[in-house]
Symmetry: C2
Subunit: 549 residues, 2 copies
């Protein structure tokens, strides 16, 4: 009779209609948007609970100087005053993405709460994130990405939810304000979400625990990023980028096989191209699907073509291939505008596009872009053949020849066997890689170039797992299987050894604190483009599971 259940406060976010519409270039873009919505996967939810209490230990040998040590059973959290445990850190045992909610209860009978409480929840992907002051904030991306949330609760008992979606393994809870009464948690739950369900996975052809572990961490990474689109990182950015889509779709095809998600993303990107038909590099879903207007990456636009090819090859969904074929043609037309009459990519020709390729200071992208364009046109031609359209684009074969010839003349140093890029004739891993992937170099030349560059301490080496994906592809193409396996173990395996639950956005084995954003806690520690070991290990079991032949 005396029991009330009051819904005291509503926190409502309304999202407004956006100003962006689908592309005016493609007649079907409105239909494409509808198709994208039609194949949106429902999310799968699962409740998770903390598995232990931990404490942060400063340790120079640990990744970024901090490791977590066991500090007791979670039951403490439900039976002792939270005021005595301000700063407590909970370990959920794995990286999770979703919504966190909790209930607080009074600990003493017949005592009423006489004041509000103020709590801070800090959600962290890696241990150092909880041990690095966020303010004053030095980072170059919005401070609001960092996941520290302060809330005031008018009374205890209370049930509450952190309004934003969070992504984390560790949760630190600080009591910033309380009165004399004692309270603690009654419930505490993380409702995790993904468009796929992670199943325990045992590789059939290996007993190597590190390979097994790399595969599992890759699967976790991929699962976390597979939401209603392929997100780049569930903590930060939370949006669809073409580069991530391509690598995620490759890994998905070898694992979760949620092909509808790939299809959705391909349609979204196509529908939201600009009015010249050029793809935007990135799409956000809320309040309604829209591009980050004006954000073009010409390498990504060309990669879209290859992503579509891979999708059609995997699914045999020729209808989608045919539907989106005009986009493929248009990306190549747009890229070719940036080439000089002698078929060399002109870095100075307006508009100056951002070329992603890697997060790496000082890396010259010209040779890489030359190679990537050739690679994209070759793959687009393969798609044309699948769709029976190769006659429409027979000119591409001539073009490819010309571009390769120009590339060899411009970038390839026959004496050293190395590709050199830009006015400074820079020697980088990626310049070799893209000339190999595009088959501008022969396999033999490629092997020589890769062996040389990997032996050069002064060579510009990659800064991100994204770039290392293409290095691995190039090694495999050159039949350098031993080196490919070593790279997988030395790079992704090194992350695992440093404690990665999910693979990181950037990783330089020589610098644990590297950040493209001037502040390593703002890095994404679960990043889509780093999940490709799943693709390599499962696509090439002979190389990565059974070891070397």
């Amino acid at each position: 009779m005396n029991k009330y259940v009051l819904c005291l406060i509503m926190w409502g976010f309304f999202c407004f209609p956006s100003m962006w519409a689908q592309s005016k270039y493609y007649a079907n873009s409105q239909v494409w948007l509808q198709k994208a919505e039609a194949c949106k996967s429902p999310l799968v939810y699962k409740d998770h609970y903390p598995i232990r209490i931990v404490k942060s230990i400063k340790d120079e040998k640990a990744y970024q100087g901090w490791r977590m040590e066991d500090a007791g059973n979670v039951s403490t959290l439900f039976h002792e005053s939270l005021k005595k445990h301000s700063g407590i850190i909970l370990d959920f045992g794995e990286h999770l993405t979703g919504y966190f909610s909790f209930t607080l209860k009074m600990l003493q009978e017949n005592i009423a709460a006489d004041a509000p409480v103020r709590l801070k929840f800090t959600f962290a992907e890696v241990p150092a994130e909880l041990n690095t002051p966020f303010d004053p904030y030095p980072g170059s991306l919005s401070r609001a990405w960092l996941q520290d949330e302060v809330i005031t609760l008018n009374q205890v008992p209370v049930q509450a939810q952190i309004p934003r979606r969070v992504s984390f393994r560790y949760l630190k809870i600080d009591v910033l304000g309380a009165s004399s009464f004692d309270f603690t948690f009654d419930k505490l739950v993380m409702k995790a979400q993904s468009s796929v369900l992670l199943q325990p996975s045992v590789l059939a052809n290996t007993t190597d625990p590190l390979i097994q572990k790399i595969n599992n961490v890759g699967l976790s990474t991929l699962k976390e990023c597979m939401q209603t689109v392929y997100e780049d990182g569930p903590k930060r950015d939370r949006r669809l980028w073409i580069g991530d889509l391509y690598l995620e779709a490759l890994a998905n095809a070898c694992s979760f096989k949620n092909h509808d998600l790939t299809k959705r993303c391909l349609y979204l990107l196509a529908a939201l191209s600009n009015d010249e038909g050029l793809l935007h590099a990135t799409i956000l879903e809320e309040p309604e699907p829209h591009p980050q207007y004006g954000q073009y990456c010409l390498d990504y636009a060309l990669i879209y073509n290859v992503a579509l090819l891979e999708y059609v090859k995997t699914t045999r969904d020729l209808a989608t291939g045919n539907d989106l074929w005009p986009v493929v043609v248009r990306q190549i037309e747009m890229a070719l505008r940036q080439f000089s009459p002698d078929m060399i990519y002109d870095m100075q020709k307006p508009p100056l596009y951002w070329l992603v390729f890697d997060w790496k200071d000082g890396y010259d992208r010209q040779a890489s872009m030359q190679g990537l364009t050739i690679w994209s046109i070759q793959n687009s031609y393969e798609l044309a053949k699948l769709l029976g359209k190769e006659k429409d684009v027979s000119s591409w074969l001539v073009l490819i020849k010309k571009m390769k010839k120009a590339a060899r003349a411009c970038f390839y140093n026959k004496k050293t066997g190395l590709v050199e890029s830009g006015a400074e004739r820079q020697i980088s891993y990626l310049s070799q890689v893209w000339m190999i992937l595009s088959e501008t170099l022969t396999q033999k030349e490629g092997r020589r170039a890769l062996s040389s560059v990997m032996a050069m301490s002064e060579a510009c080496y990659p800064g991100s797992p994204y770039a290392y994906h293409y290095v691995l592809e190039a090694l495999l193409k050159c039949n350098m299987n031993k080196e490919a396996r070593e790279l997988l173990i030395n790079y992704w395996g090194n992350m695992v050894e440093k404690g990665a639950d999910t693979f990181w956005e950037v990783f330089d084995p020589k610098d644990d604190f590297i950040s493209p954003y001037n502040f390593y806690p703002i890095n994404s520690y679960c990043h889509a483009w780093s999940s490709t070991p799943v693709y390599f290990i499962n696509k090439y079991p002979d190389v990565f599971q059974s070891g070397l032949k």
Copy 2:
């Protein structure tokens, strides 16, 4: 077609059934709770908008060292990037209590928000509250009362609400996190609430602008505290205390005349007495009405009787008087247990009750409690007569005589004409006051005592408007109308001159930073017990409006 309205995130507070039930002492307590609910006043809502932008100016002459200066038109807020105006202060022109909501919009066309924003809203009653760092927090009450709320908004445009109820005149907005895009407010509204509607009020019998202003500030204070109960302070505590109820009801009877609110509070308190029938000093309404268990103030319990008398006198609601009469009798019985055989209040006799009377360090409450008890019994006898129950309590008349005689013998120094309290024979304003209000001293003796104490620089003077209320009553009782008017002007008028929009919980003209809680920003600057100028000015127009006869 493309327009979505999504409700993204729900912030739900559920309040759980509490463990407290109504008093087991009174057979009707369950019915009393129902009666309290039945006369709950509906709240009146009104939307308010900022009237100007201000900036904080450090000024030693200003109250607490800060004053607000005009800094422009509010339209800036809606047309210029909020990032350029981080730290902006809005002035809503008056003290308001309720819920704050806003909408953010993008400022550039065809730019999508690419990151969340993090904003801090600090709501302040007085200027210094915005200019005193809250952390590290030195106060003795929960830090969570302070009204600084940090929120993360996942996107722009967005509509959001600060989940907690706030109480303020000034609002400071800091941008703690943002990306490169520009955004600002589209709307911004404070939905203010009260159980009464403040109407413009002009006093009929005075042209003195200060008296007029004191009356208006008192009305604003009272309006802000009149919610679904008489709250003590809408910013901090937000609950029903007997002491505040008594003074608020006096002022209400001379102004808003929302007698249902008084009735509701009287019933709530009675229903939630302890199992000996003693009133709890304070009641909270959420999640369901319950006392702050174990919180007794014996002076407040006795004041309840007088509050009921005043209610019955004002409304002639004899039914309620009869209904609650057992509570009146019981409070006196409970108080008498604390008296020595020679009828002196025994400060050492367990249980040791908290006696409020004032916020004032070192003030000895013994003589005051002796006087207040007599005063309460006398008033309770007056209620008995109104209800035709005087024969039931005829013993009280004998009791009153005995207590007065004992009081004079124990506390009254005939030579000096002053009441002295405690082992240290302390001379305080309030010891005189309560011996006057209880008619333990004659009017002539009272006049002598008050004149003397007010001339003594070493006398213990009151620390709060609450205590000064009784000083004013005592002055009027001694026909010291000139002094009463001077006190009103010097004390409450001084607050007005220092910029009060509403009257403050504590005020010492000699110390702007005084705080019972070790941190002046946690003081309540709109406090119920300070609103009694409304009662005095309107109840005694000859004294306070027309000046002196």
